[in-house]
Symmetry: none
Subunit: 286 residues, 2 copies
DNA sequence: CTAAAATTGAATTTTTATTTCAAAGGTAAA
DNA sequence: TTTACCTTTGAAATAAAAATTCAATTTTAG
């Protein structure tokens, strides 16, 4: 995993001094490459000991190794300077393409990079052992809800998808321990989704969430939480777009992991689904 | 210049001991990354002093820098050989991630690459000048329909989104020359979408389509057609997934081109939409 | 309010990088 | 052949950097 991914993943567990170092690294990756521990400690207002503690916490064996990883990351992600540029008036199509492509690639790469394997594992197990799977999300996140719903339906795990709290709550009230409610929310702060989560918890329904990275109320409330990468500082307009792609990427990863884990049942079902849809279309043509 | 390049360039000027170190580095780049000077000296049958003399001769300021350059070189030249592998039983999450990532990046890159600028231009003009925009798609493509609908709604162009022919046809029957029907279909061959296209054409409604690349009936029927890249020969299971990401990427490109072209109206509306949703959430919290 | 645990950076120790330097070997002119 | 003068080399010394220890301090839990 990349240094950036490691840092974002560990963010919650870092002490204050460690977090200062981590922030400095995120913001000055290029410079850190050429720094010694002492310099980095000074630049980030901490101490050499904290720098070392951070590297250990990131599961990197030495500061030297950290620099090597960082160098590799920077080469890999070497993204054009087009970064972070917002869309402007009367722009050329080619310029828009470049901007969107570079930020899309970055989002997708980073999201994949920082997938938390344990959480995905929990989520997949929870779904496999659940009786029913409820999925909830509003606004743009409802697209992710639909996507999840369609995918799991295709492998023989019927789901209940909602984007209306009034429709969801009665179902949740009557749900129980063997059910899972998976909530999608980019910010993790919409009152609607928080209410849904709270209600589910009170009924003993297992709550999973998919949010963007970083502290948010929904993730805190959830039993299981997975994350998309937080776009660096990409402008408002593009950010919304990237979060969708990132959500879809993450869903794909989770879905295919699920398929792989329940292969005998799921893969067969998936192939059968493709076949039945094709046959249906054939019959319509006659 | 890469470390390898530097060494080959300097080859003639190296002393015997320096050459031994240089050879060792060329043959064991990966290991050298993790070695100290002393270890490298021993492994190459020379001395620490010779190692340093070599780095200076290569015009590299320190051994630490040499390692950083080497790390970058290795990353740059490491190409991903994970093409076309399907998901199998009980696979590691990391392996699934790699497969999905590499095929996702490819789809998105290719789709962006082969955007037909003229067609996008036509489509954008048609929408700008239209009275009403109908969007239609079934199955997984309905996610793209919803995505388009939400995006244009946000900039003050209300849309009519459907995934049910029974709901769509009555609307199309009563539509006219100034309306646009945009149909999303990966294959471009579903009977439902072909029927929708035919009906619209008969009523003089302009038909746009978004399909995968290559000959397909829907594209032929359409007045305007845009394409996602045709996945090379990626296996069935992953292909479905990639086509969604590619559709979304293409939609983003078209959308932001649209925003850029109608900037004064759209950008303002977009920002206002973000604001009004935020305010609404604030009010719910009180 | 107190005891235990966690956090922190100064100081120290350990390790690594770099420089120095004397020995060894080579070369060319006398 | 001798001698003076390069060049190369690695052992040893030095300098620098990395990693650890530990006591002081803050935070947390009871």
């Amino acid at each position: 995993m990349s240094v950036r991914g490691r840092i974002l993943n560990a963010k919650g567990d870092l002490s204050e001094a460690e977090a200062k170092v981590a922030d400095y690294i995120l913001k000055h990756q290029q410079q850190v490459l050429k720094m010694t521990i002492k310099q980095l400690a000074k630049a980030s207002n901490s101490s050499p000991a904290s720098v070392i503690r951070l590297t250990k916490r990131l599961d990197i064996d030495s500061f030297t190794t950290l620099r090597i990883l960082l160098s590799s990351d920077l080469t890999k992600n070497h993204s054009d300077p087009k970064d972070n540029a917002d869309i402007t008036k009367n722009e050329q199509l080619s310029s828009i393409k470049e901007k969107l492509l570079s930020s899309a690639l970055q989002s997708i790469r980073e999201t994949t990079d920082q997938v938390n394997e344990d959480e995905v594992d929990h989520l997949v197990s929870a779904i496999i052992h659940s009786q029913r799977l409820f999925i909830f999300g509003i606004g743009a996140s409802y697209l992710a809800v639909e996507n999840i719903s369609q995918k799991w339906n295709r492998i023989g795990y019927p789901t209940v998808a909602d984007n209306d709290l009034n429709a969801l709550l009665p179902k949740v009230i009557n749900a129980g321990k063997n059910d899972v409610l998976w909530i999608i929310s980019n910010s993790g702060e919409s009152p609607e989704v928080l209410l849904a989560a709270q209600t589910a918890k009170e009924k003993g329904v297992k709550v999973a969430s998919l949010t963007r990275f970083g502290n948010n109320s929904l993730a805190k409330l959830s039993d299981i939480s997975v994350h998309t990468s937080q776009p660096m500082e990409s402008p408002n307009r593009i950010a919304a777009t990237n979060s969708l792609l990132a959500q879809f990427m993450l869903i794909d990863i989770i879905f295919y992991f699920f398929v792989s884990k329940s292969f005998d049942k799921s893969a067969k079902a998936l192939d059968a689904s493709h076949r039945v849809v094709r046959d249906y279309k054939q019959s319509l043509l006659k």
